[in-house]
């Protein structure tokens, strides 16, 4: 295909990605160095109240936003350098915590707390998701045709459910004296409150995430199991490989590229863990990197959004995902280049 024709084909798609993904990135980068705030003016105001023997007057200085001719708040934008980053990272507290080797104190700071949770969440769910997906694919591959249809249908349900709703449905099973909490209480013979401390909420979130993503791994593995070379399997059998060895040396190598593919997708998706926190209303116990940015972007009680700090935390979040993805991306690149040449 000639390059000109190629650009006509990909043009609209590339244009959309440039306008709505690349351009915002640049603007977030720039915004993170600037602060826009209302211009304040200080005025002296005299308030008088009627009193005994004449008025009592007090004069006080009031700070209020400056309004322009149309009655809108005048804002000014100034370059503040790395100040937004400093305030997101809370550098003073971080430095103090590091000086004392105090991990507890470090993890009290929003950003590091969120980073710790996001990374633990990502790397704990990854292997479990792959194992559950593979196990399900092998199981569905073994059962008869009549059972496969309904089994696949039920398996797909957690995958397509809206993440916020999925998290909510798990929450309703456990919250207060929810049905599963009641079950655990009956089993342990003691009171449990699963939404009262961070670690139980984290476990529930991981539990939810595995429930939500294992079906995708299942579908991908199941599809690939249909293309395992039967001759190789039979020759392995003739060479005396038992079932476990056939799985280990024939089937898993066949699935290897998909394991990389699924890990890559999972890294991207669980690094942006967010919906669980909304669904569980967990923000006072557990927060994630993406939630911090969301929180800065949500208007506060006065209706202001801290765009500058949001941009700084967005840039920091982005640096994190880039570091995580360097290795898998290089691998994809190597695979692709090898195939093309």
């Amino acid at each position: 295909m000639r390059l000109r024709t190629f650009f006509w084909f990909v043009g609209p798609s590339v244009a959309l990605m440039l306008i709505f993904i690349a351009a915002p990135l640049v603007s977030v980068f720039v915004q993170s160095f600037y602060v826009t705030s209302p211009v304040l003016e200080t005025v002296e105001r005299e308030t008088c109240a009627p009193g005994f023997l004449g008025e009592v007057c007090t004069t006080q200085t009031v700070t209020r936003p400056l309004l322009d001719a149309d009655g809108r708040v005048v804002t000014e934008t100034e370059f503040v350098g790395l100040q937004a980053y400093r305030s997101v990272l809370e550098l003073d507290r971080t430095r103090a915590a590091l000086a004392d080797w105090d991990l507890q104190a470090l993890l009290q700071i929003d950003f590091w707390k969120a980073l710790r949770f996001t990374l633990v969440f990502t790397f704990v769910t990854l292997p479990i998701m792959l194992a559950v997906g593979l196990g399900l694919a092998l199981a569905v591959n073994t059962v008869t045709e009549r059972v496969k249809g309904p089994a696949i249908f039920l398996t797909l349900l957690p995958f397509i459910i809206t993440p916020v709703i999925g998290a909510l449905s798990i929450r309703w099973l456990f919250i207060g004296d929810g049905i599963l909490t009641a079950l655990i209480e009956w089993w342990l013979q003691r009171d449990v409150a699963l939404f009262a401390q961070a670690w139980t909420i984290e476990i529930l979130m991981m539990f939810y995430r595995i429930w939500h993503v294992a079906p995708f791994a299942f579908v991908v593995f199941y599809a690939a199991l249909q293309t395992v070379n039967r001759d190789t399997l039979e020759s392995a059998l003739i060479d005396g490989a038992n079932r476990w060895q056939r799985l280990r040396y024939v089937i898993i190598p066949h699935l290897a590229p998909l394991i990389v593919f699924l890990s890559l997708i999972h890294l991207m998706d669980s690094y942006r863990v967010f919906e669980e926190i909304v669904g569980f209303s967990a923000e006072s116990h557990v927060i994630s990197l993406q939630w911090i940015t969301y929180d800065y972007l949500t208007p506060d009680d006065a209706g202001n959004r801290s765009i500058s700090r949001a941009s700084a935390s967005a840039m920091l979040t982005m640096i994190g995902i880039v570091i995580l993805l360097i290795w898998p991306l290089r691998r994809t690149w190597a695979d692709y280049s090898r195939r093309e040449t």
Binding site: V28, I160, V164, S169, W211, L258, Q290, L297
Partner: protein
């Protein structure tokens, strides 16, 4: 396909496979089944710690309608019928329709028809049967399970959830249409181009796929809020404020979904032999004509899968829509936050549950109809990418 006897699973493996699958299916379906049961009960039953109270609704039965054994049979029949129609009849119907209208229109018609029929059965026919069939059924008609539709009524009518539903519908339809139009062209171009630049576009798309959406929204928000000033030099007085409007959100969601769509469709088109469109080009077609006349007729399975993923992204999104849309254009998923954040009374909580089930119901119908496409589309597409 027959396996050599030695490769056939042994009985113990079979038993453990069935067991694993049975446990997983309970695990997968239970939360959804449970919230559906909760949404139909009076608050005192819905949040009871006694499971039988949640299923059978003792208090609810005292207050409102009770379902008898025969009513439960009716409901079971309706569910079985829905399953049968979705998995057996509908594909055949679509195959017939597709010859007249083309596959996408055929699927759209079939799915809409199926959804309307399901809604009619659930909201009109079943309640009528339940209310009136008991009279001549005698002993079988003693109510055993209490249900109430009050929470659904108050969510949809009193709290005007249908507005959120219509907004969701509009956003999702827009996302699917634009995403597929743009994505199929790009996917085809990328599959047929051997230049270095195609590779770079794909790698860039992969990096874009990884970006957390809040990073992007942090970029849009100031621009969207001030867009009338920014665009004023170009558009003059007509420059719109993009914040709160559905159309820009559609484009934002399309762009966010483009990386996945073009990777999926590129792999799909790469599996269509290039000889097909090359033959057309030898006969004097341009690339666009070759695409339209030769590729379009065979691309539907891949496109339907890509469409499903676009649908899920648009329908399920919380972060983008909650930040970029104003209250009046809000979609269902952020809309539900107003229910579960209120949660002052237990009635509010059951309303939130009913709203959650209402959001899930269309997805449930969708999997019923499209499960084969999801599995086969991923087989042909993403997995080889």
């Amino acid at each position: 396909m027959s396996l050599s006897p030695a490769l056939r699973p042994t009985t113990s493996i079979k038993v453990s496979a069935y067991l694993t699958l049975a446990i997983w299916c309970v695990f997968a379906a239970f939360p959804i089944f449970w919230i559906s049961a909760m949404s139909l009960k009076a608050p005192i039953d819905a949040f009871s710690s006694n499971p039988f109270a949640v299923i059978l609704g003792f208090e609810t039965r005292r207050l409102g309608v009770g379902l008898s054994v025969i009513d439960l049979l009716w409901i079971g029949l309706a569910l079985w019928g829905g399953w049968h129609v979705a998995t057996r009849r509908l594909p055949r119907l679509v195959a017939g329709l597709a010859e007249v209208t083309g596959p996408v229109a055929a699927w759209a018609l079939a799915v809409t028809g199926f959804a309307v029929a399901a809604l009619l059965v659930a909201v009109v026919i079943l309640p009528v049967l339940v209310l009136h069939a008991d009279a001549w059924m005698g002993p079988l008609a003693t109510p055993v399970m209490g249900v109430t539709g009050a929470h659904y009524r108050s969510v949809w009518v009193e709290f005007e959830f249908y507005r959120n539903f219509l907004n969701s519908l509009m956003i999702t339809a827009g996302v699917v249409t634009v995403s597929l139009t743009v994505g199929t062209l790009a996917g085809f171009g990328l599959a047929r181009c051997r230049a270095r630049v195609a590779f770079w576009i794909l790698i860039a798309a992969l990096v874009f796929r990884a970006l957390p959406h809040s990073v992007l929204v942090a970029g849009y928000l100031p621009a969207f809020i001030n867009s009338s000033e920014i665009l004023a030099p170009i558009l003059g007085e007509a420059a719109p404020t993009l914040y709160g409007m559905p159309l820009p959100v559609i484009f934002v969601l399309v762009a966010i979904n483009q990386p996945f769509t073009i990777w999926l469709l590129r792999s799909y088109f790469a599996n269509i032999p290039p000889e097909l469109d090359e033959a057309a080009r030898v006969d004097g077609c341009t690339y666009f004509q070759a695409f339209r006349l030769v590729i379009v007729p065979v691309m539907w399975p891949g496109v339907i899968t890509a469409g499903l993923f676009s649908f899920l992204l648009g329908y399920n999104d919380y972060l983008v829509t909650s930040l970029l849309l104003d209250a009046q254009n809000q979609t269902m998923v952020p809309g539900i936050a107003s229910f579960f954040n209120r949660e002052t009374t237990s009635t509010d909580q059951v309303r939130a549950v009913a709203a959650a089930v209402s959001i899930t119901a269309p997805l449930f119908l969708l999997v019923m109809v499209f499960q084969k496409q999801i599995v086969s589309g991923l087989t042909a597409g993403a997995v080889k990418g």
